[in-house]
Symmetry: C2
Subunit: 185 residues, 2 copies
DNA sequence: CCGCGACTATACAGACCGGTCTAGTAAAAA
DNA sequence: TTTTTACTAGACCGGTCTGTATAGTCGCGG
């Protein structure tokens, strides 16, 4: 087996970055190739399923990375309330550093991708995040951890949307503050 | 002043319906005209600013309509908790009836419109909603009504995103249930 | 050193995009 | 009736979109 380079992986990473900024329809394939300095001839070699496959895999990749980050945040914090506050602070810092250019890599794609394959990939990523959060809340002895985790996930996604649109991180901190009393382990 | 028909208004209404389904980049101008049976020659007569203006005005229109609905919901309910539960039930019913095809008319556009004019129109709509919610919470004697209203708005937007993506209204009800203890006037 | 498989360059198809233009119709105003 | 204004029909522009087809180049195993 010759070569095996990292083009495929770099394509995915570039795609993640662009999709979370411009959304599914707002991101062109040429744009992805240009932004990543990627070979133009190999896109349909690595992703025979075209844009749909590229987006689905990008979502899956970003979902797995964030899943790890969420897990670590809960492991590191003393209480779920602390974990949420930590996470919101990090998200706020990243959003500010990026000049409010990007959104959640899953949510941004989920909201305007018509393809069912992409939709399913987003749903899967969300489900994994929910599972991690729910388990952490359960470990902290909170009742109805499942419902609470769904609400937290909703609030965080919505806060990212609002914060980006308003160019102001207030919503992220508002969510952390509001949920704090509900998340005291 | 001759004629003055309703073409402009019908164009806007059709645009609202399509933008909330396919997003900004996912919706084509031809598509809007075709879906509404609208005259092709008059788009740039009524909207010389092109797609950008059309989207901005559509967002503003939808924002105003929802603002009224939110106001009425809070006026009708005994407590803010009841109002939220009511609103979530209505959103869930509408989403189910539409077979999970649409999202929030503002959020869906806000997340992928690059134009600053459209972004500002979305921010304005969100600000109006926030203002209505915050005032209602304040009237019910809740402290930190402003922060709480921001969190509620975030959660509702996020829940709509998740519900649509999962094709399942659970997130909407989870938000209502989770916020209930915080919204007992 | 040959061949095969992994990978890339390049050209291009066909559709659709947002947007512009000109010519024309219809109704109210003068 | 003539003029002015409101509005529409429909062709058309250049550009970009996703996706395909073909001809390569590169690097290792044999």
């Amino acid at each position: 087996m010759p070569r095996r380079n990292d083009t495929r992986d770099r394509t995915l990473r570039t795609a993640v970055d662009l999709f979370r900024v411009h959304g599914y329809h707002g991101t062109g394939l040429n744009q992805v190739l240009a932004a990543g300095g990627l070979p133009k001839g190999s896109l349909y070699f690595h992703f025979p399923g075209g844009k749909e496959q590229l987006a689905a895999e990008a979502v899956t990749m970003a979902g797995a990375e964030f899943r790890t980050r969420i897990t670590e945040t809960f492991d590191r914090a003393a209480t779920p309330a602390d974990a949420l506050a930590d996470a919101m602070r990090v998200l706020a810092d990243e959003l500010t550093a990026a000049d409010f250019a990007h959104g959640c890599p899953i949510g941004t794609v989920a909201i305007d991708a018509d393809s069912d394959r992409v939709r399913a990939a987003c749903a899967d990523a969300f489900a994994q995040w929910h599972s991690v959060i729910s388990a952490a809340l359960h470990r902290s002895g909170l009742s109805n951890a499942d419902t609470l985790a769904t609400a937290v996930l909703s609030a965080v996604e919505g806060a990212q949307l609002l914060a980006r649109n308003r160019r102001d991180t207030t919503p992220l901190y508002a969510v952390a503050e509001t949920f704090a009393p509900l998340l005291k382990g």
